[in-house]
């Protein structure tokens, strides 16, 4: 049975509360992440979905010291990984956490891999550093990891430099490197966006299989609602630095509640639709993170907004044990429906 159905009962591996990230720039203060809460359970896949500038990448990277500070200002109530408060660690401790307890896969492996070291050398360095295994044994394990990520001629690839490999191969090598330190949590930031769809499908299959084999948790950051549907147990939708809806994948796609989530889902061209109709659109564009609206950031584009949305940031409302939204009118509507149901 997949973890999708019982993830809610599991203890959190990572618990994030009230995360804020701001950037001090010459033009002004950029509010990138504005109070984000989420949990990831062991063995679970959480997808963080949003459009460009929504803060999804910054939120994940800030947790592990990959957002340089300054210019960033990172604060939060807590961000606890299995008992360890990441927000209280200094740079040296955070760099130990990276690679050993949290692995990373980026959209562009070329910018994350060292161009002048062979793939094998880069993976064995991770093994030597984090698992304290040296020399020939580390090299052998590096090649083993390349086999595990589905590279057939693993010895040849281990002896290659990043630029000698295709995009799909580089991404597999990057995944091997991220896993070689045997992390509890893997954060993947748009790992398939630069790949063709057939290679993307291969990489998604690989990541899910590795997650199941290794029992690690996966945080998948993406703008692509299609890819996320195929891999996430839970989905958090971000808009202008806040999570506006969080639910199991079934609920999020089957019963989306927040008007932004609903708008996003209906603007995806559906390959299965029998009759083609005009695409639904969301009017306007995302707000300037230097001048966010005082209330709900989605207010200027929203079709169901009320007067109070303009001035007041919506509080989060639970719809079920694993489904919540941050939308005042939608929450009211649900409350009314429930009251009528009780009567």
């Amino acid at each position: 049975m997949s973890t999708r159905h019982h993830s809610a009962e599991k203890a959190a591996l990572l618990e994030v509360r009230g995360l804020h990230v701001e950037f001090l720039t010459p033009e002004g203060l950029v509010h990138a992440v504005n109070g984000v809460d989420f949990d990831v359970a062991r063995g679970e896949s959480l997808a963080i979905v949003g459009e460009s500038g929504s803060g999804k990448t910054v939120a994940a990277m800030a947790l592990v010291g990959l957002v340089p500070s300054p210019p960033a200002r990172i604060r939060g109530e807590r961000a606890v990984l299995n008992g360890l408060n990441l927000l209280a660690l200094d740079d040296r401790k955070l760099s130990e956490v990276r690679g050993s307890r949290i692995g990373f896969v980026f959209q562009d492996p070329l910018s994350a891999l060292n161009p002048v070291l062979t793939i094998g050398r880069q993976i064995s360095e991770v093994i030597e550093r984090h698992l304290n295994i040296k020399g020939g044994e580390a090299k052998k394990r590096a090649v083993d990891w390349l086999v595990r990520v589905g590279i057939a001629d693993s010895q040849d690839v281990a002896d290659s430099f990043p630029l000698q490999l295709s995009g799909g191969m580089r991404q597999r090598a990057m995944i091997a490197m991220a896993l070689a330190g045997e992390p509890e949590l893997l954060i993947a930031d748009e790992p398939t966006t630069a790949l063709d769809v057939t290679v993307q499908a291969q990489i998604v299959d690989l990541m899910l299989q590795l997650r199941d084999d290794l029992g690690m948790a996966l945080v998948w950051i993406s703008h692509d609602l299609g890819v996320v549907a195929g891999l996430a147990d839970r989905v958090a939708v971000m808009y202008a630095g806040r999570i506006v809806e969080s639910a199991s994948a079934q609920d999020l796609y089957g019963r989306p509640v927040h008007p932004y989530t609903r708008g996003l889902i209906s603007s995806v061209p559906d390959l299965r639709a029998e009759r083609l109709s005009r695409l639904a659109t969301i009017p306007g564009g995302t707000p300037d993170p230097m001048a966010l609206p005082p209330g709900c950031a989605y207010f200027p584009r929203c079709g169901i907004s009320e007067h109070e949305c303009e001035a007041r940031v919506p509080v989060t409302t639970s719809i079920s044990s694993s489904h919540w939204i941050a939308c005042t009118p939608a929450a009211k509507e649900i409350e009314v429906a429930e009251r009528q149901g009780d009567e």
């Binding site: 460009s52 063709d196 609602l225 549907a229 559906d270 390959l271 659109t281 995302t286």
Partner: protein, 337 residues
């Protein structure tokens, strides 16, 4: 020049080749890159032909050859009765206003020092020599056509959002009243909620202005939304071409089927019940394509063809043959019947 059929655009057995890097007098490298390797297609007035395929399949190069931006090694491109591939540069310049390009990255295609209004005015000034009130009226009208607020005219490209920049790019492309737009991934750099706005705009403009689109994209959902017919390219060749509905409902070529099944669908139920028709490996290099069928190194039907039909896919190249109304496939599975 001869008149040909009624099609607005007719491409016939077109080949475009690039010399490999480092070639020249002292080089011994042989592999010429066959970016477009014998493509034939037609496009009618008011029609949209979607051109899909993975990176490196030659779809953008084909678009550039239609615009006369890259030369053909052989074959021909005819536009409204004129053979572009036989024209001098001067003649190409004369016909080019009728064929315009919409880029993926509108920001990179716009001069960063110019304001939106000046960018839209430029083609009117240079090609039509308009000025004064007439020019301003035409620019205003064009802003309205593409749904840009006039107040945005003062802004520089970097002060516009991605969707607004793409609207400026489309306005520039439309200024000279072209017949054909080559749209090269026009929405792939845009956010989802903006992508839908631009697709709807392109459809509205087509209805109003009776434009033809050669619509190049890798996103099959977008292509289905906008296309009348679809051509699927693999390693420089068209492997399947049909009406939109036939491609998406009755695809025949193993590559098209695999490509369609790899497209993620925004529905977890679907994802858990529909696996994709696995296709191993990646696209071979276009400088050393397989000898027989281009797709034979990744094809799941190769065994069937070889056992049942006794054709060696590694050695024998399939031809593009008709399997129904406006439906062509290049695969031995069908050529033997």
């Amino acid at each position: 020049m001869n008149k040909r059929g009624t099609a607005l655009l007719e491409v016939s057995d077109l080949k475009v080749q690039f010399a490999p890097r480092g070639s020249g007098l002292w080089s011994n490298s042989k592999g010429v890159v066959r970016a477009v390797d014998g493509v034939s297609l037609t496009l009618q007035r008011g029609e949209t032909l979607g051109l899909v395929g993975e990176s490196g399949c030659g779809k953008s190069t084909l678009g550039r050859a239609v615009l006369g931006l890259v030369g053909a090694a052989s074959g021909s491109v005819w536009f409204d009765g004129h053979e572009i591939t036989a024209m001098s540069n001067r003649e190409v310049r004369r016909i080019r206003p009728r064929i315009q390009l919409v880029f993926q990255d509108a920001g990179a295609a716009l001069n960063p020092r110019w304001r939106a209004r000046d960018l839209v005015a430029e083609p009117f000034k240079i090609h039509l020599r308009l000025e004064g009130v007439v020019l301003q009226q035409r620019v205003d009208a064009m802003f309205e056509t593409v749904g840009l607020d006039l107040a945005l005219g003062k802004r520089f490209p970097r002060e516009l959002s991605g969707g607004q920049r793409q609207r400026v790019g489309i306005a520039r492309a439309l200024a000279l009243e072209p017949d054909l737009l080559v749209c090269d991934e026009p929405t792939s750099a845009l956010d989802l909620s903006i992508q839908a706005q631009i697709i709807n705009l392109l459809q509205d403009l087509q209805d109003q202005l009776r434009l033809s689109y050669l619509f190049i994209a890798h996103d099959l959902g977008v292509v289905r939304q906008i296309s009348d017919r679809v051509a699927v390219m693999y390693l420089g060749k068209i492997v399947e071409m049909a009406t939109r509905d036939r491609i998406f409902e009755e695809a025949r070529h193993p590559y098209t089927q695999s490509l369609l099944s790899a497209v993620p669908v925004a529905d977890p139920e679907h994802a858990s019940t529909h696996g994709w028709k696995g296709m191993s490996g990646e696209v071979p290099s276009p400088s050393s394509p397989p000898r027989g069928c281009n797709f034979c190194t990744r094809c799941g039907s190769k065994g069937e063809v070889e056992n049942r039909l006794n054709i060696d896919c590694d050695m024998t190249e399939p031809e593009l043959i008709s399997v129904g109304d406006l439906h062509e496939v290049s695969c031995h599975l069908f050529s033997a019947n």
